[in-house]
Structure formats: C-alpha cells, structure tokens
C-alpha cells in the first residue's frame, strides 16, 4: 500500500481507479478509509443522513474477491460514492430530507443508482439535502444542518449540500447531486467542487424523488472536471423507464475534459452574459465574485478563446418565472404523499376520515418551505390566477430559451458567476425566502431552458470558493467539460496545486 488512509480519502477518482486497477490498494482499504473519515468528521459536518458501514465493506470485499479470481472489472470497480438522499435505493433508507419519508426503504432503485452499482462503485451512504430539494442552503433538511468544510459557520449550498460537504470534506470522492434550479452547481461552487447539470432528458429521472419534473436532472459532483465527466458517462444515456429521456448517444465527455486540460481553446467562442453580474447588472453580486469571474475569463482568453459580451435580456425574469413553475409542479408532485401507500401516516385513530388523516399527515410530515411552496403552487395553478402566474411564467420560459438560441448563434458557450455571493452564514436567510431564492439567480436560466451547465472553481474570495458557470446548447455537454477543464488545468498549473488542497485537513479533524 502506497499511502495512509488519509491519502486515500484525498485521492480523486482517477487516482483511486489507478490504485485499485493496479492492485496497489484493495477496495476494502479504500472503503474503510472513507468510513473511518466519516466516523471521525461527519459529527461535525453533518453531510450524511445514512451511512452504509458493513454493507459498503461487504460490497467492497465482493469487488476485491472478483478481482482476485481474475474477473474482468470496469475502471470504477471499488470506487466509493455518496448519493443524494432523493436517489431511490432498494433497501437503503431514502428520505429526500423529509420526515414524511422517515424510515422508508424503497422497493426498487433509481436508474442512476443501478448504473453506478453495475459499474462496481461502492455506496458509502446517502447525503443530506433541503427537504424535497427545496432550498439553497440545506438548512431546510428536516434532520440536520450541514456545514461547509471551508468554514463550519457557513452553509454548504443546497439543495445538494450534503453531497458538496461530503466531497469537499473528503468523506466521499464524488457524489450524485440533483439540480432543479441550481442545486448541483450552486453547492459545488460554494465548496470548491466541480458540479454539472446535464442537458434535461439526458440522465434518467427514473427513481429520483420528483420536485419539479420539467426541470429536475441528476448529475455529478466531483473534485475534478475529468471525474465529473467520467461519472456523467456512467449515469447518462437513454432509459426507457423515463418517458422524457432523450434517445440520443451522449457526447464524449471524458475525452472533452482531457482535450480541454491540454489547454488549447483557440476557435472556442465564449460569451459573457451581461445580465448575470455584468455592467448595469452587478447589484447583489459580491466584488470578490465578480473579480474571480473576470480573472477566469482572462485565463480562457489567454488559452485562445474568443471572448465577447452577450446580452440575454429575459434572464432578468428567470427568478420570478422559476419560483412560479417549480412550486406549481411541486404542488402536484407532492400530492402523492397522502399517508396511504408509503411513508408517514399520522392521526389515524380509527375515527378520522381519509381527508383528515391526509391533512394531519402532511402537516406533520412537511417542513415550512415545502408547505410554502405547495401553497404558492396551488395558488398559481388556481382558476382566475393561472394565466397571470403559471401561464405567464411558461411564456417567459420561451423568451429565456429564445435568448439562449440567439446567443448560441454567435458563441459556443456562455459564462457567468455560478452564484452572486460566496457561502453565507448559517441562519442568515432561512426565514427570508426572497433572499434565499436570490442564491439561484445565475443558475436558473439554464434550468428553465433545459440546457447543460457546469460550475468549476475560479478561485477564492475572502477565503471561500467561487465558481464559474459554463453553459452550452442542448446535448453539447462536452463543451462545458472542455472549457471547465481548460480553466481548471491552467489555474492548477499557475497556483501549483488544486484549489481544494488549500482546504487542508479541517481544524478539529484527526
């Protein structure tokens, strides 16, 4: 064995894959190292809602045994992973961060979970999240607060905040997150990770607990662009169990990441979106975030990219449109929690009828943000208001998509900050929905248009990570990986190490 268990938890997936494939370390050693790290640090970080422990070690031992018998194993066999707790996993507790699903052990697995298991990865556990993915800080979890590994008094982003804290805190080498309005990209940006939201329809939604079905997508959260691309290739592609799944082969994503890392962006046209932090639109954006964004764009230009400013005027309406569309779809999707078939049932004393039991169950099972969104969605869909709110929001969605189409007629990718600010302190926005929603300002346009978008670290501001967002046309996810990998490689080379290395071993950790 070449390193201590601490080294194994700091290795990226490419390195783990090499060590496992060459037999330098066993899958059990890798899994044990991560479980030890979880046992030591997760009391402080609160990233996991459930840890597999013995089951993970058993799965790892099975990989080692298969390897010992000379079985042909894929490159990811024995690599551990964490799944956001809305990815349904057969027999493994799945709550979506909600009390209404406490203790539920699903009878089937999501396609993304199945594909990762078939690749030989080892499930470490399920990560914390805002309840039903509604939030930008993970403070809406019904179970626990998750802390940012860079500063324990700050949020790790959300809704995939357990995943971001786990990967940045070295409690998992990578994780599946899900993104409805920014829930992969925003937590990745705030913790110094790479997070990619795939083209809508290119990763199966089968077995993802639904929030807003026309927006939800699962995607990778990892420490490097290449790792993210590798995970995306495992989970992506057509799935007949999801009727919105696109029946088109994925672009070559890992190749695109390697090509980008080679550092040549000549011929790539990069558009900087004025409405996302540009001139006249900088209100609410921190100067440090804008400075890192400008520097990252200069790096891309230095690699040969042709940079221009692009205007997408309808992006100003993305936030109000999203906060009508997503709650409307949620109010419908969450009707399935009726206390009858699975999950919580409360108040069933033999005298109350179904309606009363349902209302008591949902009152006890849902947290405040979920209730607010159900009520708002019900309002936006009610007769008399439908046209003014939901109908109007759907038309704005068309305008945003047209802005993207016009922009992509002249450029290959669009860039912006991923978030207007660095991670904010825990407790500062949780009772103020409007200020919480503003955290999604930059990520919402690509969500509404169904386009691929990645967040890649661009540096630190006041000691906290900042992310650059790279957006591309539908099914051109490879462009996101190429440009992100170019930035990552150039910045890593310039500073002599990865951004995440500056996190070091957190204070208080062994």
């Amino acid at each position: 064995m070449t390193g201590t268990s601490s080294d194994l938890t700091r290795a990226d997936v490419a390195e783990l894959s090499r060590l496992l494939g060459s037999g330098e370390v066993s899958a059990v050693e890798v899994t044990r190292a991560h479980l030890d790290r979880i046992a030591a640090d997760d009391g402080r970080l609160g990233a996991y809602l459930h840890v597999e422990d013995d089951a993970a070690l058993a799965a790892a031992a099975a990989v080692d045994q298969a390897r010992a018998t000379g079985a042909e194993l894929g490159p990811l066999a024995g690599v551990p992973l964490a799944l956001k707790d809305l990815v349904v996993t057969e027999g493994v507790p799945t709550t979506s961060g909600s009390k209404i699903l406490e203790g539920w052990r699903p009878p089937y697995s999501a396609t993304v979970a199945t594909r990762l298991a078939e690749a030989g990865t080892v499930l470490l556990g399920k990560t914390n999240m805002d309840e039903f993915a509604m939030g930008s800080s993970t403070e809406n979890s019904a179970y626990q607060v998750t802390r940012n590994p860079w500063d324990a008094e700050r949020i790790p982003g959300g809704s995939s905040g357990g995943s971001s804290a786990a990967v940045a805190g070295h409690l998992a080498p990578w994780s599946i997150g899900t993104d409805t309005g920014g829930s992969i990209r925003q937590p990745a940006a705030l913790t110094g990770l790479v997070g990619h939201k795939p083209t809508y329809g290119s990763v199966s939604r089968y077995g993802l607990i639904a929030f807003s079905s026309s927006l939800d997508q699962a995607g990778p959260m990892a420490r490097t662009v290449l790792d993210a691309a590798v995970m995306h290739e495992v989970i992506g592609g057509h799935d007949p169990r999801d009727s919105t799944s696109i029946d088109t082969p994925l672009a070559r994503l890992a190749d695109a990441a390697r090509e980008g890392a080679a550092g040549d962006l000549r011929g790539v046209r990069v558009g900087v979106v004025r409405e996302l932090g540009g001139e006249g639109h900088a209100e609410g954006y921190e100067p440090g975030v804008l400075a890192r964004t400008r520097e990252a764009i200069e790096v891309l230009a230095g690699l040969g990219a042709e940079v221009t400013e692009v205007s997408c005027p309808s992006f100003d309406l993305a936030l109000p449109a999203y906060y009508l569309i997503a709650p409307s779809e949620a109010s419908s999707n969450l009707a399935r929690y009726e206390g009858v078939r699975f999950g919580l049932r409360a108040g069933d004393d033999g005298s109350r009828d179904l309606d009363e039991v349902m209302a008591i169950t949902r009152e006890q099972g849902f947290g405040p943000e979920v209730k607010r969104r159900i009520i708002l969605g019900t309002y936006a869909l009610s007769s008399g208001y439908y046209e003014a709110y939901y109908g109007q929001a759907q038309k704005v969605r068309t305008l945003i998509t047209r802005d993207f189409s016009a922009a992509f007629a002249g450029v290959d990718v669009l860039v912006s900050p991923t978030t207007p600010t660095v991670a904010f302190p825990i407790g500062t926005r949780v009772d103020d929905p409007i200020s919480m929603y503003a955290a999604d300002l930059c990520t919402l346009p690509a969500s509404l248009a169904g386009l691929p978008a990645i967040s890649v670290p661009s540096g630190l501001s006041e000691g906290l990570p900042v992310g650059l967002q790279v957006m591309a046309p539908a099914l051109a996810d490879d462009r996101c990986y190429r440009v992100a990998a170019a930035l990552e490689a150039a910045q890593d080379a310039a500073r002599g190490h990865r951004l995440l290395d500056e996190l070091g071993t957190p204070a208080g950790a062994a």
Partner: protein, 99 residues
C-alpha cells in the same frame, strides 16, 4: 396583481390537504405575500404572441411495447405501507357518517 390574505392561505392549505396551525397561517400569509410580489414581475414581460413552454424536450407519444413485465412484489410493497391488513393496504374511512 393580487396579494395573499390569511384567509386565502387557509383556503389554499385546505385544498392542499395541509392542516396548518394558526401560527403558520400568520407567518405564511406574510411570507407568501412577499414571494408573490416578487414573482408577479413575470407580468411585466411582453409575451402576447409568445407560446408557452411546458418542457425543455419536445417529445410526444412516447410508447413502449405492450408487454407484461415484472412488477413489485406485493409483500415488499405492503412492508412499506403505513398500515396493512389481510394482504392489502389499510385505508382510513372515505365516507362520512351521513353518507
């Protein structure tokens, strides 16, 4: 554009099958009024001739072959139900006394 009153919230909560408390009614009415004021900005968009977009992927009539495939095992499903009896999910009564 409208605003949401306390009684509106109570009505919407009833439609949504949420037995909200008085304290929640007070809090949600204020918060939802703020959210509604913010999202009402969609009304500013000039969209008279713009078609609505429901979905990012224009797919229609996605069909699968009409073949029998395995479904979930009954006992497994019942194990996940909040109450089961005689091999079925037990449900609270659905009819009132007068019905």
């Amino acid at each position: 554009m409208s605003s949401i009153s306390r009684s509106d919230v109570a009505h919407l909560a009833r439609l949504s099958r949420l037995a909200v408390t008085d304290e929640e009614l007070d809090r949600f009415a204020g918060q939802l009024d703020q959210v509604l004021a913010a999202v009402a900005r969609v009304g500013e968009a000039a969209v008279a001739d713009v078609p609505p977009m429901t979905h990012a992927v224009p797919l229609t009539n996605v069909l699968r072959p009409d073949e029998v495939t395995p479904s979930l095992d009954r006992d497994v499903v019942l194990a996940g139900a909040p109450a089961a009896e005689d091999g079925r999910i037990r449900v609270p009564r659905i009819l009132g006394d007068a019905e």
